[in-house]
Symmetry: D2
Subunit: 337 residues, 4 copies
């Protein structure tokens, strides 16, 4: 770490900082600048005590990290891009995968109609929420296990693997029994106990970016999966919270390129949540592919106006077919399939 001292500190004050740093088993290296003295603390920042607390000392102005905080998710640890196998559907390879389906599973007919339609239009994975995290306790909370059973049935009928959200540690085993990918939602991206529970099921895990999660924190959330011995991790950009209100969230597409550059894990983009309005979903899907997404996650509903949750961002069956048609040239332009 680098410790910058204030201008005008005494030799004794410098020495006190050095003594404290060495007490934490770092070696020190002092640099005298024109105005300020800088101390390098040499040692592995991930195994030594964090020195950031030194900032509470009167004579210290800044404490800066030198190393990256994440390890296993980084390209330094594994330069080659990972491919996550989901039944016969590999995510992160040459083929761009399309995950599609309703925000919530509402009924057998709603799910089956959607599942068949998205498959026919070219989707390769089925999404659907059985347990829903809702801002208000008075809103529809999902069908629960009944929803999982319907998803499994839809998989049987269409052959599409399924992705569904895990929102309680208590459900980890149950959901792992039905699902092919466990999704960690944006509101739980910082729920480390849930991340660990998901990792331990051994199933592929998709971590949505938290509402106000920095890229570094998101990578560290992923580190919770890999360090719990589950190698099958995907990141999913779904928009962050900003001052803009035209869209429900601000989708940070540059983050896709950033994570692809920092990490070997596949990156999925969720345009539906990202903008929260169905009229922009196709445009964002094209851009997501152009910037390097490995997969898309699209909310599709036979009748969005009557959806039990988040209708505003779901496209209808025709809209999804149109989307699949319109993204095709961009998949080709990206050299993908």
């Amino acid at each position: 770490m680098i410790i910058v001292l204030k201008a005008g500190v005494t030799e004794k004050e410098i020495q006190a900082v050095i003594t404290e740093i060495e007490k934490q088993d770092y070696k020190t290296h002092v640099m005298h600048g024109v105005e300020r003295t800088v101390i390098g603390a040499i040692g592995d920042e991930r195994t030594h005590r964090n020195l950031e607390s030194l900032i509470t000392w009167e004579q210290v102005e800044q404490v800066m990290r030198v190393q990256k905080r994440y390890k296993l998710v980084s390209r330094e640890a594994q330069p080659k891009s990972s491919v996550v196998p989901v039944r016969e559907v590999p995510i992160g390879g040459k083929k761009i995968q399309i995950m599609a389906g309703p925000c919530s599973v509402e009924s057998e007919s709603q799910l089956m109609e959607t599942a068949h339609a998205v498959k026919e239009a070219g989707a390769t994975i089925l999404r659907g929420g059985a347990f829903k995290p809702r801002t208000s306790p008075y809103e529809f909370q999902g069908l629960g296990e009944e929803g999982l059973k319907l998803l499994a049935k839809a998989r049987d009928e269409t052959g599409l693997p399924i992705v569904t959200e895990l929102l309680s540690q208590d459900h980890a085993e149950m959901i792992a029994e039905y699902a092919d990918i466990l999704q960690i939602g944006t509101r739980n991206a910082h729920n480390f106990q849930l991340l660990i529970a998901a990792a331990k099921t051994g199933k592929p895990v998709l971590i949505k970016r938290g509402l106000s999660m920095k890229i570094e924190e998101w990578l560290l959330a992923g580190e919770y999966i890999l360090s719990n011995r589950n190698p099958n991790l995907m990141f999913c950009e779904r928009g962050i919270r900003t001052f803009e209100t035209y869209t429900r969230n601000t989708i940070d597409l540059a983050a896709v390129a950033a994570v692809k550059s920092e990490s070997h894990c596949p990156v999925v983009v969720d345009p539906s949540q990202g903008v929260g309005r169905s009229d922009l979903v196709i445009a964002v899907s094209k851009a997501a592919i152009a910037i390097g997404a490995d997969a898309l996650l699209i909310e599709v509903h036979p009748n969005p106006a009557e959806a039990w949750s988040d209708g505003a961002q779901q496209v209808d069956l025709n809209g999804f077919k149109k989307l699949m048609d319109e993204i095709r040239p961009f998949i080709a332009a990206a050299g993908r399939e």
Copy 2:
């Protein structure tokens, strides 16, 4: 709800919207403006289907709520301010309570030294983390149940009730056995399963504001406690995430006045997390009291530079005494004790 149609829609398109609204059991009321037609959907928005999905229709421009989404936490439901009893310490009454203690419980000596010192300086509740949510899996995760036992011992010695964080549903019972207040941390403020588990213990619950939680969402998180039959709820402002980097978070003190005005529940302020740097904690504490906080939550450590977590924001024992001295005139100015 209010549905605004686009300029230039046909009578038939208007009729289609009306039919859909009435299908959801709302009554309708049509208003023709100079440029746009507006439809009022009359019915309780909390028990009827949300009409926001109508925005997916071509002819619809805006859908706006009329009612507030929260009920039990609101002053409409209970005009008089609630007082939460924590052993003999009432929160929300005339006396401003000071919760103080280390970020993490690190050892018996560290905790006991702090507990005695904060009590002597005037603190009325002891805080301390036994289970810690950490951004990186490689950071100190807390002493666990061992930490809870030390907290209970400190309570026995000092008489101070204790507040500690609950971060896993699996720990709800265990923590409720030791703690007098269950704290829901900022990273779990949207973890509804955890909120329900906390509510069900019957212990007082303190909900920190999520990193990027709107005031309305925060009140709705509180609604999860009250609607699960636990009346003892406190909100705690601890800073939100913005573009500013001088402070770790941006403490939103106006939110204290806002929540006091919307809700009958007590509001606590955490200046330590709020700014993330100990040099500003006293100043923020004064402002928190001036704006109407019912209690403060202050991180105190005998030696912040060697703290195992968040040292930069902890004040030392002398700093805490100074804080208590300096806030006294503001407590008096606020007409509190």
Copy 3:
């Protein structure tokens, strides 16, 4: 406008609001809901007094607009997309235009080398800053009129029209003499006097989005150009300020699709400012084209490490050639030239 009253107001309080609204020459329309009364104020919101101040009345809970605040920039005013003529280079037509050049004009050799290189690689417009808005008064402020002369010379040599920033009303005439497009920078996007001065030169104007400008405000800034009788307006997305620090700004590509949908004016994307790091510029350029940008604005420098301003975000001459090669398939996929 729609005025929502609080629950439990008296008939007299309702009447007082109605009287006030009618005093402002709106017609009123009352709707009684299950819990709240809603009053519609019927009249053109752009020519009548704004009623938002009614919120200061005890009995009023919300005041909501019904109409859009912008007029001339909207597709309601002009459904067909505008094409802005810049010498022989039309912006907003089928061909995607590439504006490229250094952040600052530093010297004749630096500019000429860059101008010839970008032209050869396929750029159609030359960018370069002569007057630079700098956060610190101690940083390089641009070559001033000397820089403009060099830009004119580069145009003579290469035939490329030039775009350069206007940052002072006092320079409007001078810059209009040299430049083909006047750029309003992000820090001046809310500087209405400058917008008016730019409009009045009659030259095409490019308005960058302000650091924290909502899409609605950005469109209204454009309204200042069109309502000052200058029809040649372009919007330029260049990233907004958020909590993320990995990139210098967060580029909001969905805003491109949003503005294209709300407005008939062309939209330009500036990936260089948008991310502030040259390693992500190509990826963002591809996405910008995929999502519907009419032009790109790329910072190019022969030796970014020695640039006098914003070196981190400038690509070098080879990097620009690579960019032009890599975006080509996406231009084709978008059905553009």
Copy 4:
């Protein structure tokens, strides 16, 4: 500056960086860590070329500043707090000054009524806008010079010095003729040409914080005043833009303490803009005083519901009297007058 190289760079790559740094007249100092090499560039960062562009080099991972970018506004340059003289009203001394008056000057009667009322209630400076920056070109733009004349007349009648906004370089002289303090509004906080023009009038300047201005940038904006030989500078916190919509802006009161700690210049707080709703203005005023503000800026209107601009945030004459009464104990608690 500190340059951190990537893990695994070769000796030759390190040498190339050193050569480049020395070319810019810095001395270098190399530190080999466990994983990364760090180079210190020793030299005054404010007079040498900025090395941040080195980040474009393949082998460079981070470039970090060591020195602060501001000089004249800092407490390092002047440890003692400045007092800005405004006629007989010193700002920054023991006495807390209250600036009050309407958002816009609308008419002689409106202004005179307000001026007399605020004076009687204890205000010491009169505020009022004559030139208004408005988001929409269709909104009231202020009375212009006519408004300035009315302000001067109100000063003659009440003896209160006046503060009014400067929003165009062209008006600097005219406004300086009438006003005692020139206010730079939030939308122009990054308009450096305007800052210079304001500084050159020699009148005291009050810089509002930009909508999304970091504290460091705000201090640097102040540096534009002091480095243009005008010593009479005040900063004014008026809320920043965040995701929260309950309040119009998020007032960052900790920034008051931060600026007081970094700079010797007085700090003013504008609660009216800060929250944008009159019901919270008194509460925020108390907190502002508690946290160390030297003055408040309060919008007052005889009839806010009919104000020509920003009625929602203006208090009426009685509200202002109540405010003055309620803040008194906090002024005493702060040891001020």
